[in-house]
């Protein structure tokens, strides 16, 4: 009976270790077994080390003026207090930029026969080499894309009208608990998800 119980314990330990190993493998994409055997399946399964996001927005300013304003206000566009380095003027229609771990480019071209200009932003994101890359990227990429879209929207509002619209701080009546929670979530979402940018590797 004692031996039976002991055998049961061993079995559980074996199952638990196997389960944890598979979970680790699933989440990280790393296989200790393959590593021990010196095999690599990286060319089939590895994650890209970098990914690129592109967004564009039409802004009601002449191209040259918009380009100059953007160049001078990159910190506003990127919502950052960090210095932004600008380089490689692209023949007067754009530039490359780098800020902390982020880099990208901006290109501004006029729309024909309108007062609008098209601003195209490219953002290169370098993926980290830490654990849980695959799972994290699935969450991170749409958040970063949304944050970039909202940053551009706020920048457009500022460039065209001198301010981004604001309602935080206005009066309201008695909220329900659910309503207050939803509105808090809405405000967080609107502000481009605080913390989303910190998720950049």
């Amino acid at each position: 009976m004692w031996r039976g119980a002991r055998s049961n314990q061993r079995q559980r330990l074996l199952f638990a270790t196997t389960g944890l190993g598979l979970l680790y493998r699933g989440l990280t994409g790393r296989c200790p077994g393959y590593r021990a055997a010196g095999r690599s399946t990286a060319k089939h399964l590895s994650l890209p080390e970098r990914y690129e996001l592109k967004r564009s927005i039409a802004i009601n300013l002449p191209a040259r003026e918009l380009l100059n304003r953007t160049r001078l206000n990159m910190r506003r566009l990127l919502d950052t207090t960090q210095p932004v380095a600008i380089s490689n003027d692209q023949g007067g229609s754009g530039f490359m930029w780098e800020c902390a771990n982020e880099r990208g480019s901006i290109r501004v071209t006029p729309f024909p026969d309108t007062s609008l200009s098209l601003m195209e932003v490219r953002l290169d994101v370098t993926s980290g080499s830490g654990l849980f890359d695959k799972s994290r990227l699935k969450v991170e990429r749409p958040l970063v894309k949304f944050a970039l879209t909202e940053s551009l929207r706020r920048f457009k509002a500022w460039a065209e009208s001198g301010e981004a619209p604001v309602t935080t701080g206005q009066p309201h009546g008695q909220r329900s608990m659910l309503g207050a929670t939803l509105l808090g979530a809405l405000a967080a979402r609107r502000s481009g998800i605080p913390g989303a940018r910190e998720m950049y590797p």
Binding site: R153, S161, T167, S176
Partner: protein, 398 residues
Amino acid sequence: MKAVCWQGANRVGVETVPDPKILSPRDAIIEVSSTAICGSDLHLYTGKIPTLMQGDILGHEFMGTVVDVGPEVRRLKVGDRVVVPFNIACGGCRFCHDEEYSLCDNSNPNAWLNEKVNGQPGGGLFGYSHFYGGYAGGQAEYVRVPYADVGPLKVPDGIPDDRILFLSDIFPTGFMAAENCGLKVGASVAIWGCGPVGLFAIKSAWMLGAGRVFAIDSVPERLALAATEGAAETIDYSECDVYDALMQKTGGIGPDACIDAVGMEAHGYSIDAIYDDFKQKLRLISDRTHALRQAIRACRKGGTLSIPGVYSGIVDKMNLGAAFAKGLTLKMGQTHTKRYMGRLLDRIERNDIDPSFIISHRMRLEDAPTAYELFRNKSEHCTKVVLKPRQAPPPAVH
């Protein structure tokens, strides 16, 4: 201050809330002298508009006096008397430059939410749900007006509030509805709904050269107003088939233009109206489109259908095939209020029109819950309620 707050479907309350303050350098604070309940407020009141939250301050038709301005406001100063359009416009985007103020790109702080549903976001509106920005409305003692140099229209002191208040929404809305019909002189126009917007659409159709105007409703006092004030030929849909009546009046051709001033909560007695009502109650559709279907069916071949009535989302059983087969032109959308305010003020000053004819009730702000109920039920011959935040309470009876 006191403000009218939404407290759930068919429930509003007058609550004490903090006074508004300048949140942006281009803001102004207005002390409200008159504010009205709009027909579209009833969609909010009955809980038909998503993203309205308990505690939101209602109201988008209001006027008053400037009591504070932000440091970057140039055109307004403290003491100015203004009427404020219901749409909030930044003044700098391409749409504002083209005087399409309701389509403003920048004034809706929740643009992403609106964009998810509509593809591109509409501009912000006062007191009209978080989908349109979540701005506090004007059924209050004070209201914050963003981009104050763009929207508000300065008005002279000599004209009473009741004559100019409706420049904030329903008069321009009725006018744009008629303008969207592209009327030729002598054209015939049929207007579904003789509420305030419908009545102003009737008046505007005449101003723009219509030869005949047909007014469709079932509320006797509204039909009476359409006939007496609007000189329209009336059709009571509770007593006859609207299509038959219009064909009879136009020799089978149909009206040159049709205006749906009813919107998403159309009533009717036919199978499709009952079906809509049932599905809306089950939340399977957002809009009841009985009036719109009728208008499409009745409009003449090659005619124009103008839709100032509010629609909010998904409709069902739409006879788009009839619109296609007859080559109808459809024009719709929120009014670009500011575009029309100046020229309609001129008409009021010239005594071409006195918009106060639609007011049936003048009440205190504190009476808003009763006012909403009256207006929703169309009881006591209620066609339009104006609330006066500064009106003294009636003397106590001993």
